[in-house]
Amino acid sequence: MDYVNVNRLTKKYGDFTAVDNLSFTVKKGEIFGFLGPNGAGKTTTLNVLSTLSDFDRGEVEIAGFSLPKQEFSVKRILGLVPQEIALYTDLTARENVTLFASLYGLSGAALKSAVDEALAFVGLADEAKKRAKKMSGGQQRRLNIACGIAHGPELIIMDEPTVGVDARSRDLIMGSIRTLNERGATIIYTSHYMPEVQELADRIAIIDHGRLAAIGTEEELLSHVTDRKTLRVGVDGKGDAALIETLSRLPGVKHASLADAELRVDVDLTLPSISPIIGTLMERGLAVKSLAEEAPTLETTFLALTGNELTKEGA
């Protein structure tokens, strides 16, 4: 059953088309990953789904309610976790959650219970009386989530909820998202951190220039890339931008990047020989320590579809 149905959505800002005939569906109870480079139209799409932005053309339906006509019905079932830490920093954790939950009509014992549950859910029950500004970045992120989910929304839109958090907070957040999903919430999730999306999402949509580049499960997306493979070359020595540019110009090389003494080169499957690559490295005085071939990953797929590296932009 399609819970979210976006059909030929178009949104323009003056002459700039931020979202161009975008169509996708999200099933009820699904974690739906939303990927795209900066400026791809992700945030605009999320704003439309969150009822925060109008659109120029197309149809958007959430839980059977049509936007913008039945906007208030959509708002009632929606939980928003924005990328910004949207909190009242002078208020305590409890006051923040209480405030945002009460916007959805909760009051009295039901409100208190919902607030307690949300704080416990994100591991902040012991910090309930702490002011938001006194919390660590990770705690603020978790509180940001608690504020978006306390009222028990059916659909939760999470825009980069783990930006800038430590590993422990990231694990806590990831765990809580899975639990929310297990309890029946449908989640639309964006992140610049590819492994998160791979780990969480049932299905993933990749958008670029406001258009849908690909959609499906991880396996389905990987199947889009059948023309390339990745070479992982361990090197001894320092590479630079000039080396990457030289490698990228070699016949059959689609993309090259260097990080932590490992060179990753995406090449055509039909590449007859890797000698030009090795030769270039040796000319630059870089010794090859190891060489391995890797099947396409989601990162490679994203790169192939959008021409951009996701993690580099979001880092």
Binding site: T51, F72, L80, P82, E84, A86, L87, L91, G148
Partner: protein
């Protein structure tokens, strides 16, 4: 609506800088000004006894008669003492009495002219000068009338012999005023503009910046409720500010404001509405602009307050009454003269501004692009 108001109020009362600038700073200002001004002018305080050394030399019958009548009237006054006998004194003895501090001022009546010798106390000397000027003008008028029709002299003398009950002294206002009465009102007006203005403008601007406005507008609350909720918060802030300054000035320095408690309640309500109106307009401004409104608003408000005489009691541009000046005038009209017409009119204007800001703000907030 009360949820937004509550969040605004909680945030306001916990924000140390907001507390400092809108509550502690005015209270400190009250303390500093009150201490500084305590010993200074008290415009309605009695001058006390005024001692006048007088000498009457020569002049015609009419002048002598008028002079004697004037000095008798001064002697009858409980606040004035005529030092020595005017008939026996001369210019030198008058000057000597003033120089020696035996008299606050000297008056010499000679040949139709009055000379005033001023002593060290400029306020008392000034009072004597005004008395003499008043007499001189009156005498000139009589002299002209008599010169044209000598028969009228008898009529005038007959009138002069009658009792002088024509002048009835009335207290203009029942309480004495101190400088704190002026500054407390001026300070509340200042805080209404600075505190509510900056607070109001920052509300939506900072909420948009930190994303909480997105979260709030994504909720099922109507945008009218959201905007009016924050305006309600501004009203509470306004009440707190006015109460702090009014009570501080009243209890610490005896500022009395209006005579009647009903007028003081009206004054408080006026300040409340004034702050809320400024807050509402600035809410709107903060929602409308994309830059930090703090700096331009500070500059505008300081300039307006300065030109309205809030700091120096002078209106910078004669004929142009800026909002702070109009607010101060309305408040002073109520406190000094007990007249509430201007205050009620100003309250009506504030109420209209609050309503208009609320409607415009709600409409503006309905434009989704404003939130993002």
């Amino acid at each position: 609506m009360f949820i937004q108001a509550k969040s605004y109020i909680l945030t306001y009362f916990r924000d140390k800088s907001a507390m400092f600038f809108s509550l502690l700073f005015p209270a400190l200002l009250c303390f500093v000004l009150g201490t500084m001004l305590q010993s200074l002018d008290n415009p309605d305080a009695p001058l006390g006894e005024i001692r006048i050394a007088a000498a009457a030399e020569g002049g015609g019958d009419a002048f002598r008669t008028g002079t004697a009548s004037f000095l008798d009237a001064l002697r009858d006054s409980t606040d004035v003492t005529i030092v020595g006998s005017a008939a026996d004194a001369d210019v030198d003895s008058v000057k000597a009495a003033v120089d020696a501090g035996e008299a606050d001022a000297g008056l010499v009546f000679s040949e139709g002219k009055i000379s005033v010798y001023e002593g060290a106390d400029i306020v008392k000397s000034g009072a004597v000068r005004f008395m003499a000027q008043s007499f001189s003008r009156q005498y000139d008028a009589i002299a002209v009338a008599v010169a044209n029709d000598p028969q009228r002299m008898e009529e005038i003398l007959a009138v002069a012999d009658q009792s002088h009950d024509g002048l009835t002294e009335k207290q203009v206002s029942g309480v004495n005023r101190s400088m704190m009465d002026f500054y407390a009102v001026a300070m509340i007006v200042m805080i209404a503009f600075m505190g509510n203005g900056i607070g109001g403008a920052s509300t939506f601007f900072s909420m948009r910046r930190d994303g909480s406005l997105r979260r709030i507008t994504a909720s099922p609350k109507s945008r009218v409720q959201i905007f009016f909720g924050y305006m309600l918060g501004g009203l509470v802030q306004s009440a707190a500010q006015a109460a702090v300054v009014m009570l501080c000035a009243y209890f610490l320095y005896g500022a009395s404001y209006a005579d009647r408690w009903q007028d003081n309640v009206l004054l408080f309500c006026f300040f409340l509405l004034l702050g809320a109106a400024v807050s509402g307009m600035c809410n709107l401004f903060g929602l409308f602009v994309r830059f930090n409104p703090y700096t331009p608003l500070m500059a505008i408000f300081w300039a307006m307050l300065y030109m309205s005489g809030t700091f120096n009691k002078d209106i910078a541009i004669p004929g142009i009454k800026l909002p702070p000046a109009a607010a101060q005038e309305a408040a002073f009209d109520l406190t000094v003269f007990g007249r509430d017409e201007k205050t009620l009119a100003a309250m009506a204007v504030c109420a209209a501004i609050i309503a208009a800001s609320g409607i415009l703000g709600s409409l503006l907030l309905k434009r989704k692009a404003v939130v993002l």
